[in-house]
Symmetry: D3
Amino acid sequence: MQRKLHTAKTILTALPYIKRFTKKTIVIKYGGAAQINPDLKDRFAQDLVLLYLVGIKPVIIHGGGKRINTFLDKLHLGTEFKDGMRITDEKVMEVVEMVLSGSINKEITTLLNHHGAKAIGISGKDANFIKAKPLDDGKYGLVGDISEINETVLENIINQNFIPVVAPIASGQTLTHPGYNINADWAASKIAVSLKAEKILFLTDTPGVLDKEGKLLSSLNTDEVEALKKDGTIHGGMLPKVNACLEAVANGVKQAHIIDGRIEHSILLELFTDEGVGTVFSQ
Amino acid sequence: MQRKLHTAKTILTALPYIKRFTKKTIVIKYGGAAQINPDLKDRFAQDLVLLYLVGIKPVIIHGGGKRINTFLDKLHLGTEFKDGMRITDEKVMEVVEMVLSGSINKEITTLLNHHGAKAIGISGKDANFIKAKPLDDGKYGLVGDISEINETVLENIINQNFIPVVAPIASGQTLTHPGYNINADWAASKIAVSLKAEKILFLTDTPGVLDKEGKLLSSLNTDEVEALKKDGTIHGGMLPKVNACLEAVANGVKQAHIIDGRIEHSILLELFTDEGVGTVFSQ
Amino acid sequence: MQRKLHTAKTILTALPYIKRFTKKTIVIKYGGAAQINPDLKDRFAQDLVLLYLVGIKPVIIHGGGKRINTFLDKLHLGTEFKDGMRITDEKVMEVVEMVLSGSINKEITTLLNHHGAKAIGISGKDANFIKAKPLDDGKYGLVGDISEINETVLENIINQNFIPVVAPIASGQTLTHPGYNINADWAASKIAVSLKAEKILFLTDTPGVLDKEGKLLSSLNTDEVEALKKDGTIHGGMLPKVNACLEAVANGVKQAHIIDGRIEHSILLELFTDEGVGTVFSQ
Amino acid sequence: MQRKLHTAKTILTALPYIKRFTKKTIVIKYGGAAQINPDLKDRFAQDLVLLYLVGIKPVIIHGGGKRINTFLDKLHLGTEFKDGMRITDEKVMEVVEMVLSGSINKEITTLLNHHGAKAIGISGKDANFIKAKPLDDGKYGLVGDISEINETVLENIINQNFIPVVAPIASGQTLTHPGYNINADWAASKIAVSLKAEKILFLTDTPGVLDKEGKLLSSLNTDEVEALKKDGTIHGGMLPKVNACLEAVANGVKQAHIIDGRIEHSILLELFTDEGVGTVFSQ
Amino acid sequence: MQRKLHTAKTILTALPYIKRFTKKTIVIKYGGAAQINPDLKDRFAQDLVLLYLVGIKPVIIHGGGKRINTFLDKLHLGTEFKDGMRITDEKVMEVVEMVLSGSINKEITTLLNHHGAKAIGISGKDANFIKAKPLDDGKYGLVGDISEINETVLENIINQNFIPVVAPIASGQTLTHPGYNINADWAASKIAVSLKAEKILFLTDTPGVLDKEGKLLSSLNTDEVEALKKDGTIHGGMLPKVNACLEAVANGVKQAHIIDGRIEHSILLELFTDEGVGTVFSQ
Amino acid sequence: MQRKLHTAKTILTALPYIKRFTKKTIVIKYGGAAQINPDLKDRFAQDLVLLYLVGIKPVIIHGGGKRINTFLDKLHLGTEFKDGMRITDEKVMEVVEMVLSGSINKEITTLLNHHGAKAIGISGKDANFIKAKPLDDGKYGLVGDISEINETVLENIINQNFIPVVAPIASGQTLTHPGYNINADWAASKIAVSLKAEKILFLTDTPGVLDKEGKLLSSLNTDEVEALKKDGTIHGGMLPKVNACLEAVANGVKQAHIIDGRIEHSILLELFTDEGVGTVFSQ
């Protein structure tokens, strides 16, 4: 009985967080270890289904880096990277889309459905809801820059009590255009803004933003970030994620989080306990 | 971090139960120690608000025995009991109603509202939704026998996302009739049936139904109950509660529980863990 | 036949008034003789049910002075008055609330239901819809000053075609606070404003506002009232009611009436004939 | 004041009748003196608007005998009658329709609108809602026998809070068919059945059904009517109206009334007082 | 097969036009040869039903000149014209209304219903939705100047998927007023404005606006029209139609068309092919 | 002008077909040449968008044979066929799904969106809406037999005015199950039944069912089909399609068509002209 009582009491520690987030939209960029490790995948799905059942409205945007590479390799299609971007020609784009929309997207959908949610997987080509144009005048081929999001498509799905799972592919301007490969972090940020989300969470394989001593900076505002960018503390691969966070909070999303997806239940830890598992950005 | 992780994992143990009960109506007869002890009241409110936030639809029916006695004493109104029923004349009825509808009902409403739910307190006189006639031809004065429940009044309240808190008073047939004092256990059972509730929980000051050796019988079906009534195992004050349980399960409520309200978070223990805290009745 | 024809013609004299008020909200402060005398109560209920059936949306706020005194006396709880306010300590508050919410409120609800309306009795504690703070820094104990009204609770009840009957009790800021005793006239006025009511009627035991010669002043605007207050014509017990009227008309209620509740069918006389039974205030 | 009080009390005598009929559909065949005499028209409109405002849903079907004759005469178009039916050729039909749909229908609509209702005038040709075929194999030319009523057209109008005013014209089977002249009594009866009306009232220029001594028979059931038809008490022009009443009550309309439209406010007298002004038929 | 393929391809040429106009309101002033010639009537109905089925919302306003004359002649009622207006006394008005509301209106309704639409014919007297006052201080008797349109009546009809067919009659200010004869072109223009229509089409017996050489001017803006009026190119009977067009486009209607109703399927030619059949006006 | 008039008349030949099918659901199995040849793809999209705009509710189910082979080849994954079924192991299944859900599905969605519809591409894994079990006890590996369709997912999409485009993949019973490859013809048939579709069309690379002389059989009922199956006229690759047709018409779909997708606009020819382009099956 004592053990059970402890259980009940622990469940109840979630109450203030549930009250705070119920009926709010929370956008989650899903990627890294949390998307690969079977245990972490399972934990992720449990967390998501809990959010869903307590009335929170999650939206998932996923990437797909490694599996894309695997297939490109199998198909003997080499790819180059420039400025961290994959140079994407039509042949590569075809594989990118198949892996994202046809493999990873449905895998996540299945994961959530089998844990008790109702998820629907789409890409920006569905109902044409994400439009893009070539990034930096086409410097990276079919890597796209989002020009327009029609959020009503996502809202319809959310309002019918489904969880949307979005592959980061955008439609092109013409019928024969193969579409665009868009950065998933950036897509998540733009979608969070278009949905006026309460929060955006980036699941990463880092503990968050670290200071020069390697200590986690658990909370940063826009000015502090700018200083850390200037002095080089934030640099390299962390830069685009931090920029996606700033973009979101600058456009109405209340908080953006970079969290450590390698930790089990990192989403629940972040949302339902008073101890963060990463860095939170606000304006 | 480990402590937090443990928290998250514990919260997630509630998932299968939440899935099972979400959108279901659960009727709770609130009484005994859980209604008097300040700590237990608080725990009760936390449990209720959690149910409410995870999409369960609770309905509260309360009694009020001791406070009624206090006021009758203060007013020098003696009362007799016959067959466990309070002989209720008009003067007594006036006090019974004031205490139930005017004091205890609003106290519970306030308790829930301050913990984050939205509760509305009514009695069977509101919109005339519980009608009664004299029990056993008036042998106990204004003690009533429910003749009709208009459940649409409760459904309206539930559908607007309020928790109804019901005082066990019924309206009489005429304008000048002072109304009826109705047994709260019985009212709860009838209301559960009229709402096609999933479950009914009776919070009591007993551990549940005990066998002749004093061991808890954690689950009973109708036939077993009849046998225990025959051999005298179930007797005395337990009889009416057990009958209210049987009435509910015989008329479509899936399960009826007699639980020990003296235990903290007994509702959550019963609904959200795999260990019961009383006796469950089914058909 | 001639008699019947006369009846029909008389009924039709109500047509222009019905047209004018149909679908409008009319707030009624119910009190005084009309709440005590059995015949007047009956007439009041008939009037209300007629309003209800011809599509007018009445909202009742009641007081309860004499019955509160009776119970305080019976319980040997003396009370003092200062500036016309009952000094309200916790013990007194408990009785005040029981009488208002548990006795008078349900009596009025029953009265209306038995005449053919569907009424629901609530207090400001239900769904926490009237919040208050101590009046004049607590000079009168638990006498409260309304700080917030959540009118959606009343609107929900009205939209489901019920008549709300409101006991003038407000909730306190904390869970253990016993709540506030609020002035019913003032509560009626604030509720009328929050509901953007067409009219507010105060049923009183006076013929209305009289001039220095004792002649009824059948209509007054704000400026005229101010003059009459200055020259002492309006004074004493009439002052707070007049102020409640001014507060209402200053905040969007079209007309406020002080009418003589001692006259049978005073509400119908005021609303459905061209002869007033009191004083009407406008801006 | 006494006079006004009497007024209020008289208005209240309507309460039980309003309660009984509110939200019910009442079909009224409008014709005879009540449609011609300016004072009676006015009284009719007042009665109708009162019904409308107290939540009753009236539907008007009108005839138009005399004005049709006037125009046929002016246009030198003679008409014959056989079995009480106007032999209707195409030229006559054109005039019949113009007078019914273009003159009388809009006159009634205007009458009701100017008294404060919102009325819309249509004929059976609108949305094709009354279909007919030739009566008795075309023995009377374009006199039609109703073959189908699409009541959803009327229900749409009623649900938007309009009073439908129906001209007794039906559409033919082909595009070039001029339509059918249908008996207004019969149309009223069929419409009442299709709308599952509570009552149908026929406004006539008779006091109702009289016995052999000329005394009014104020209430008749189907069997009694059959006996009176057999013994010749009901005969001639009264027969079709009585048959229309029987048809209605045989098919679900609760009561059918033949009332004396020459009496002012006959509708109100019938519906809102306890003294009938004609004969009521029930099953 | 080739013939059929040609058919399919031709049907598909309508696609861009359907996309452009679907869900838009298009007001059509129906008159002239298109309303008289049986073949043209048929073609008109086909066009209308096609618009209706592809999701366009047509509203018809009709005139009735010649049939009114025929009946006035038959009834030996002479009429004078002044400034192109029929001097309308009460006797004439009665005939005008009967022909418009009772004959032509129902004929058009029938025409559309039999081709597969659901049309409802009303006049401005229905629900009082077009109000007028005497034009030019009554210089032309009962010829009216529209003072108010209540477009919600039309919107209700449109939203229930009916086509409204409107007779150009307005209600007067008093109950006994016979109503007003209003110019159908002007009524169409005002209705188009009140409905925020996409387009208004005037079906006429002219090819459109011609220049001094008799060549069709296929498109004109407001300034060009003003110049053509000044130099006398637009004059006589064309002036009021052109003014009705300008009134519409000046008040929010995107385009107004004067088209040649003598050409079969002129509406479809105008809306669904790239070749106009008249003159289009824009701001 | 004559040319244009011819255009208008031709468009109008579609009217009776539009009337017949508007608001009906039509399921289309899309495959073969019509899915590969750029011109035919374009024609297909035009046809679909026209159906969509005239109020018909199309649902697309596609296959993907050739592109799957291409990718299996590129990835050096050989596949065997048994009884016309692709033996599908996990490695093959991964490619099948990527091509169907990630490449072909989005290509069709894009095609329709760019022609003016709003299409959303999903597979049976989305919201778990198609469930399957191994066909013939797993004889063909992961080739599945549909066990359940949750049509509400499709209905939600249709009701929001989107065209669903369905990849023939079903979800498995467990979380780690890779899903099932299901026959697209059979999926189309089951979906048509679950949606109570009016029609199902199979776009094939055959002219339809031919008799022994090679002449097209333009219409067949169930009995005739059984005879033709017995005598070997229907055999080989035609058998499964014919069986899918029979399954549909046996379960409530009105008509099933095998049409020649190699003919331009074959859908429009079939639905909107009186000349079929294949074989129609009915019960």
